[in-house]
């Protein structure tokens, strides 16, 4: 049941998010839907995988997002020689104290930017991905919790595949959503030339929200109501990916959870205290597509996972309570 406080919180949330969005959009021109999706993932406690060709602003988006929120930010440039301990941290023998001292790795930040994640060795990748899921790091039997909020924004380049280690399905599954930024439109690109021609706008970006604000927003999002029909709709959509003829691998139950949480965040972003099928529909391609494995035949036919998800959306009836009999 929605209370006055809930509505207040929602109002705060939309106001805060609006500020962040405005800030980010100063850097990322003409991609409001990408910015919105990033914010949705942030509020849904997910991690974002940005997959696109080089130079479209993947890192810029991640940085802008991190910079807008006043929180600790670490950027990891993934290379083949990156070691898992570079990410998680390492215990070093302290001669004076005659004890091991834990030196936290790059993961111990509220916002982690993993650049070109597919360039790291699988071992390193998995170290990162484990911490992403569990939100803690365990080294030498000692567990170190990661700060809150915690969000990994990883980028990967789908074109340059040489010397890369593509993320296995299980690891892609850890990301709540995958987003492609895409090339900007002509106007946006022209504006970009004006803005980015001199100094980098990123340098001027000031934090517009506090980390604890974000934690509060996340709490608010958790309170968003999801009615039974919408929950059922989410389950139906995910189940449909498992039964689809063009898919070798459907979405996992984790995907169901992620979709639901994303839908809640999306509703909160819209200032609504309840999720709609529209939220689910808007997020389903971003949340589900990167987890699906199309069959070879579908790939040959040019049917990507994204196309299949949209097809499923077009064929799954939107839940509605059945009307009175005979009408």
């Amino acid at each position: 049941m929605t209370t006055y406080d809930d509505r207040e919180n929602l109002f705060d949330l939309t106001a805060t998010v609006e500020r962040i969005r405005n800030a980010v959009e100063q850097v990322i021109e003409g991609k409001p839907e990408v910015v919105r999706l990033s914010l949705t993932v942030l509020l849904a406690e997910g991690h974002l995988l940005i997959e696109d060709v080089p130079g479209v602003g993947k890192t810029m988006l991640a940085k802008a997002l991190a910079r807008s929120v006043d929180c600790s930010v670490r950027r990891i440039q993934f290379t083949p020689d990156l070691l898992p301990t570079d990410i998680t941290g390492v215990s070093i023998w302290d001669q004076q104290r005659r004890d091991f001292e834990f030196k936290p790795g790059a993961i111990f930040s509220q916002m982690v930017i993993g650049d070109e994640i597919n360039r790291a060795s699988p071992k390193t990748q998995s170290a990162l991905l484990e911490s992403m899921e569990e939100r803690q790091v365990t080294i030498d039997g000692q567990t170190y919790p990661l700060p809150s909020p915690f969000m990994v924004v990883a980028t990967q380049n789908p074109v340059e595949m040489e010397g890369t280690y593509p993320l296995p399905e299980a690891q892609r599954d850890r990301f709540m959503a995958r987003v492609s930024i895409g090339y900007p439109g002509t106007e946006a690109e022209l504006r970009m030339l004006d803005v980015h021609g001199g100094a980098s706008p990123l340098d001027d970006l000031q934090p517009v929200a506090h980390a604890h604000d974000i934690v509060k927003l996340i709490e608010t999002v958790r309170e968003v109501h999801v009615s039974e029909p919408v929950r059922r709709y989410v389950v139906q959509l995910v189940a449909a990916t498992r039964a689809h003829a063009d898919l070798r691998l459907g979405a996992s139950p984790r995907a169901t959870l992620h979709l639901l949480r994303a839908a809640k965040a999306s509703a909160a972003l819209a200032g609504r205290e309840y999720a709609l099928p529209d939220d689910v529909q808007a997020l389903a391609p971003a949340v589900l597509a990167h987890r699906l494995l199309p069959t070879a035949q579908a790939q040959l036919g040019g049917r990507t996972a994204d196309v299949v998800v949209r097809e499923i959306l077009a064929h799954t009836p939107v839940p509605a309570s059945p009307g009175p009999r005979g009408l």
Binding site: M1, L313, V318, A320
Partner: protein, 772 residues
């Protein structure tokens, strides 16, 4: 293919053969069909256009008909000029009249022959044009079926199974030939060893279908109860020929015997008569005047409309005394008979329905649908009172009656010899007849036995004369044959012997009164009844042998005088007007009677009228059903609703459904995968709605979202008004045709079909669960 079509027509035409007493028309039809088919084949060979082929065949057919029927009028015997066409038209008209007048089997008049040959020729042309010229073999079933149906419909006892098989075989042959021809048009099919070529498999399929169809056609009549057609017991066992009248005397006679053996002696007819001699009240159904050596049959008769007054019975002279009596006869509901049982000779009859008179046999025959069941009819008849002298003095019959003394060559000599032996010493025909009757009924030691078979062979009479055992059929057949052998015109009447008089003065005639008796012709007296069957009926006064020789008194005079003295006014006048006497006898039609009967069997008519009115209204309303349904549903959806929290959800959903359905009716089909918001956008876009109306649509969609997905449903006021407004704007945005269609045939009526389908599926699944 041409040959197959000829065969199909000719085989089907065999069904017409039993309708006519002679089959001589068939070879002519055969030749005509063959010739027109040949003309068609030649025309096709010359690669004429298809309509020309048909036209050439038509001309050839006309020429043939002219040659057959209007040779004198036609130019060069063949070319039909105006005279020939007139002659053909006259003949056809004559044929139609003949068909109406004769019962089957009808004599082969020129008119009937023209109708037959012309009809078969038309069918042959149709079949040839369809199957060969236009290559459509399957539809030829229709003209063939028409031909067969005409034959089956005209034939009183249906067609013979053989003709059915012939017609079916002809059609199947045509289909098979067509299948083969199609294949040869495509060339030979290749097939490895052991594989079945399409031609063979096609033939096999054809044969299978044919076999199944024939099987069904032959078995169905066995499985289905046929209409009662028994002569005496219309509602009997039901194994008689469907709905037939007593035209087929063999069936008639077999049934007569069955009825005599009937254990359940039901009352068939109730008679009230002004006659004082009810023991002489024989009711005739039909008279059989043709003897082929095996059995007696009714010759083909020309019938006329029931006249006000029947013609004078043949041969009845003025000097013979007669009295007219009136009888009112009622048949039981189960008693179906196409002839009206009535006394002989009748002078007028009044019955409701299409009844016709056979002036020769003096019998009354019903139309195709008229039977005696549950009917009453009034009939006046003569009690003819000839004296023995008159009978004895009767001169030899004229040459016009010669055919009534004809006997087939197959009849054993023994019959004639026996007749002469029995009538030895008789001085005239009358005495011979009396002697015969006396021999059969008394001196010949014959015994009455209904278990004896009727016998349908030429030895049946000799067997009967040897065994001296039989029942009325044997006696009447034998006496009539023997009388003919003596030169006395004779025929056999079939009907009822006098029934038993009841306490109220009526006479009840039961099944076991079914009877056959000989009628012998005496010039000046006419057809005179004799009674050779022992223990059955009564022998007429004028035939009693003890008083016959030399007696001058009129045997019936005393009885008549008795009656006259006892009740002088009892003798009814010849007038048809209702006398006091008639009224007393309940023989007058009640004032309401004719009206009631004319109305089709009595009873108030209003239920029927009501039914017809309802049916008419239903037929009118049926096309409007979708509109009416839609209007009703709209009123329900946008109508009043409860104010409670529980009512918010159903009301909002109903209003939303109305909006989407209205859009659907106007050409925007619903899409289940669209969320309310997207659906609203689609309606706004599709209907090119103005911002205010678009806002109203979105208001409704938001209300739906709210009630469906929010934690608590909140009522949104004014939704129905919003929807009404939106619908009005939507209707204004489309053309008149779309609007009209939305009104009369709303697309959203498909929901009824879906609802029905889902209901059916539910029922089926419940049933299958129960069965499991």
């Amino acid at each position: 293919m041409t040959l197959a079509s000829v065969a199909a027509t000719l085989l089907t035409a065999t069904a017409l053969l039993p309708l006519i007493d002679r089959g001589s028309w068939y070879p002519r039809a055969f030749l005509a069909v063959l010739l027109t088919a040949g003309v068609g084949a030649a025309a096709r060979r010359l690669s004429m256009p298809r309509p020309t082929v048909v036209a050439v065949q038509l001309v050839a057919s006309l020429a043939l008909l002219s040659f057959y029927f209007a040779r004198q009028q036609a130019v060069a015997w063949l070319l039909p000029g105006p005279d020939a066409v007139r002659r053909l038209a006259d003949l056809a008209g004559q044929g139609v009249r003949d068909v109406g007048e004769y019962t089957t089997p009808a004599p082969l008049t020129d008119g009937i022959a023209l109708l037959l040959i012309g009809g078969v020729l038309v069918i042959a042309l149709l079949v040839d044009a369809l199957a060969v010229t236009y290559g459509l073999a399957a539809p030829t079933g229709l003209p063939l079926l028409a031909l067969y149906s005409v034959a089956a419909g005209l034939s009183d006892e249906g067609t013979h199974w053989f003709t059915f098989c012939a017609a079916a075989a002809g059609y199947l042959a045509l289909l098979l030939a067509d299948g083969r021809e199609r294949l040869t048009r495509w060339g030979r099919a290749f097939g490895g060893a052991g594989s079945v070529s399409p031609a063979r498999s096609g033939q096999r399929t054809g044969r299978r279908i044919g076999a199944v169809a024939l099987g069904v056609a032959l078995l169905a009549p066995v499985a289905l109860p046929s209409l009662g057609g028994s002569l005496m017991a219309g509602a009997g066992s039901g194994d008689g020929p469907g709905g037939s009248g007593p035209v087929d005397s063999v069936d008639l006679l077999v049934e007569l015997r069955d009825n005599l053996n009937e254990t359940d002696d039901r009352t068939a007819l109730t008679v009230r008569t002004t006659s004082r001699r009810t023991d002489d009240l024989y009711l005739r159904i039909v008279s059989l005047d043709e003897f082929d050596g095996k059995t007696w049959e009714a010759s083909p008769r020309r019938t006329v409309d029931l006249p006000d007054r029947f013609p004078t019975p043949p041969g009845l002279g003025l000097q013979v005394d007669r009295r007219e009596v009136t009888s009112r006869i009622s048949a039981a509901g189960w008693y179906r008979q196409r002839h009206l049982p009535m006394p002989y000779p009748a002078t007028w009859a009044d019955a409701v329905g299409d009844w016709r008179l056979d002036p020769v046999g003096m019998t009354v025959i019903g139309g195709r649908k008229d039977t005696t069941a549950d009917k009453s009819w009034q009939v006046a008849s003569l009690e003819v009172l000839p004296t023995r002298e008159q009978l004895a003095a009767a001169p030899a019959p004229g040459p016009e009656l010669r055919n009534l003394t004809e006997l087939p060559a197959s009849l054993p000599e023994e019959v004639g010899e026996r007749a002469r032996e029995v009538t030895k010493g008789s001085r005239n025909a009358y005495e011979q007849a009396v002697a015969l009757q006396e021999w059969f009924s008394r001196t010949g030691n014959f015994s009455y036995d209904t278990q004896v078979e009727v016998g349908e062979d030429s030895r049946a009479i000799t067997r009967f004369l040897r065994d001296r055992k039989g029942f009325c059929i044997h006696f009447s057949f034998a006496m009539a044959s023997m009388a003919r052998s003596l030169g006395i015109p004779a025929r056999v009447a079939v009907g009822f012997a006098p029934g038993s008089e009841q306490g109220d003065g009526s006479v009840e005639v039961t099944l076991r009164d079914a009877h056959a008796w000989p009628e012998l012709y005496f010039e000046g007296v006419g057809w005179t009844r004799f009674e050779p069957t022992p223990t059955r009926g009564t022998q007429p006064e004028y035939t009693r042998p003890e008083t016959a020789p030399g007696a001058s008194a009129r045997p019936s005079e005393a009885a008549v005088e008795d009656t006259a003295s006892a009740e002088p006014s009892a003798r009814p006048s010849a007038s048809v007007s209702c006398t006091v006497e008639l009224k007393r006898l309940d023989a007058c039609p009640e004032p309401t009677d004719p009206a009631l009967v004319a109305d089709g069997g009595g009873g108030p008519r209003w239920p029927g009228t009501l039914l017809w009115t309802a049916a008419g209204l239903a037929a009118l309303l049926l096309p409007l059903t979708p509109m009416l349904w839609r209007l009703r549903v709209r009123a329900l959806r946008l109508g009043a609703h409860g104010r409670g929290e529980a009512d918010v959800l159903p009301h909002t959903l109903r209003v939303w459904r109305e909006l989407t359905d209205s859009a659907w009716d106007l050409g925007l089909p619903p899409d289940d995968s669209l969320t309310p918001r997207r659906a609203a956008e689609r309606i706004v876009r599709g209907g090119r709605l103005d911002p205010a109306t678009a806002e109203a649509v979105h208001r409704v969609a938001s209300a739906v979202e709210q009630v469906l997905y929010a934690p608590r449903a909140r009522a949104a006021p004014g939704l129905a008004a919003d929807v009404r407004g939106v619908c009005a704007v939507l209707r204004g945005s489309v053309g008149r045709g779309t609007r009209l269609r939305a009104l009369l045939a709303p697309r959203s009526a498909a929901r009824v079909r879906w609802a029905l389908a889902s209901w059916m599926a539910g029922v089926r699944s419940r049933l299958s669960r129960r069965a499991a």
